[in-house]
């Protein structure tokens, strides 16, 4: 019960232990749970958008199919690969931190950072193409003015260009919120690289890297769902008359 006894018990790494925890294991679990609680609130935030998507796609199936047709599946697939690969390199950086391997950790964090930057670069290319096509609601929306045949196709299903706009509103909100998370992820990984290079996480205090890793994987999971929902509504078969 005496505090001195506990202080002796954790002596080797006592500098890491905050006074309100019994031992490092309890501190580690509590800190990890804090991150999981944050990720649960993040899931709620994205959940609202996924719910709006579900309802509008159910109400406006043809408009969502037409909208999805305008996305570049090749770029979307490439970005999915890039993010999944970055999750692997992030997991390897966390592993290197846990096994106190500073150089390997910094290397894999840098690879992760570059992959994240590539993802955002491809996203920028896609958004620029949407802008020039006239498919950005409220900013550059003139595609259907130039394609009356698409309007009559929609009209056969009782839908119209404004319904396709709903798809693109959700597309930009969902990929935009995801991209904001990627930017924050890049900032965090960047800080991890700078601090980690000076040995901040490879002397027994590797948990910050693990927590940033959890965030990175979470953002990856959001994209795992965004990719099929936004890009693959119609897939590679033609827009049918059904």
């Amino acid at each position: 019960m005496a505090p001195e006894t506990q202080a002796v018990a954790i002596a080797p790494e006592h500098g890491l232990l905050h006074h309100h925890f019994d031992d490092l294991e309890q501190q580690r679990e509590a800190t990890g749970l804090g991150m999981w609680l944050f990720l649960a609130t993040e899931a709620m935030m994205f959940g609202g958008l996924f719910l709006a998507y579900t309802l509008y796609r159910w109400m406006l199936p043809e408009s969502f199919a037409v909208g999805s047709k305008h996305l570049n599946i090749a770029l979307g697939t490439g970005n999915t690969f890039v993010l999944l690969f970055s999750s692997l390199t992030m997991a390897m950086a966390v592993h290197a931190a846990a096994t106190k391997n500073r150089r390997t950790m910094v290397l894999f964090l840098m690879v992760t950072w570059v992959l994240g930057a590539v993802f955002l670069g491809v996203k920028a290319v896609e958004w620029t193409a949407d802008y020039h096509e006239g498919l950005v609601p409220a900013v550059s929306w003139h595609y259907f003015g130039e394609h009356p045949e698409q309007v009559s196709l929609l009209a056969r299903h009782g839908e119209g260009p404004n319904h396709v706009m709903m798809y693109f509103v959700l597309y930009f909100c969902m990929t935009g919120l995801h991209a904001i998370h990627m930017v924050i992820g890049l900032l965090m990984v960047g800080i991890m690289i700078l601090m980690g290079a000076r040995g901040a996480f490879t002397q027994g205090n590797d948990q910050p890297v693990e927590l940033v890793g959890l965030y990175w994987h979470f953002v990856d999971i959001i994209w795992i769902f965004l990719f099929p929902l936004l890009y693959l509504i119609v897939g590679f078969h033609s827009l049918g008359g059904h």
């Binding site: 690969f85 692997l88 693990e210 099929p228 897939g235």
Partner: protein, 115 residues
């Protein structure tokens, strides 16, 4: 926890103050599985299966997410409280979806007096 540590070469540093270190070989296998699932998603999108397309796509997405959560995010090796926190997120998402969709689907089912 130790029965889960069936890894190959990383057993030297498996238990450090209470947290599990997943062997790298597990990460490689998970990544390979994720790649297979990505190809599978694209392959499924080449067929016109009507409403089944989105069901298949989301099933594959859930499988991918599960792999990331269990292995990359270490939940398989984590404290049971982590399972509770993650489960709570899914439960509350379920409530959000079930009640809102239930509302939208059932609108107009009952006659409204005076209309």
């Amino acid at each position: 926890m130790s029965q889960l540590a069936s890894g190959t070469h990383a057993s030297t540093a498996t238990e450090q103050h209470g947290h599990h270190i997943v062997p790298l070989a597990v990460y490689y296998r998970v990544f390979a599985a994720l790649m297979v699932l990505l190809v599978l998603t694209l392959f499924a999108a080449t067929f016109d299966l009507g409403p089944l397309n989105v069901v298949i796509a989301l099933t594959i997405a859930c499988a991918k997410a599960l792999l990331v959560v269990l292995y990359f995010m270490h939940v398989r090796y984590s404290h049971k409280l982590v399972w509770v926190f993650g489960g709570a997120a899914i439960l509350w998402l379920g409530i959000l979806f079930a009640y809102t969709i239930g509302d939208y689907i059932s609108r107009g089912w009952l006659p409204i007096a005076g209309r």
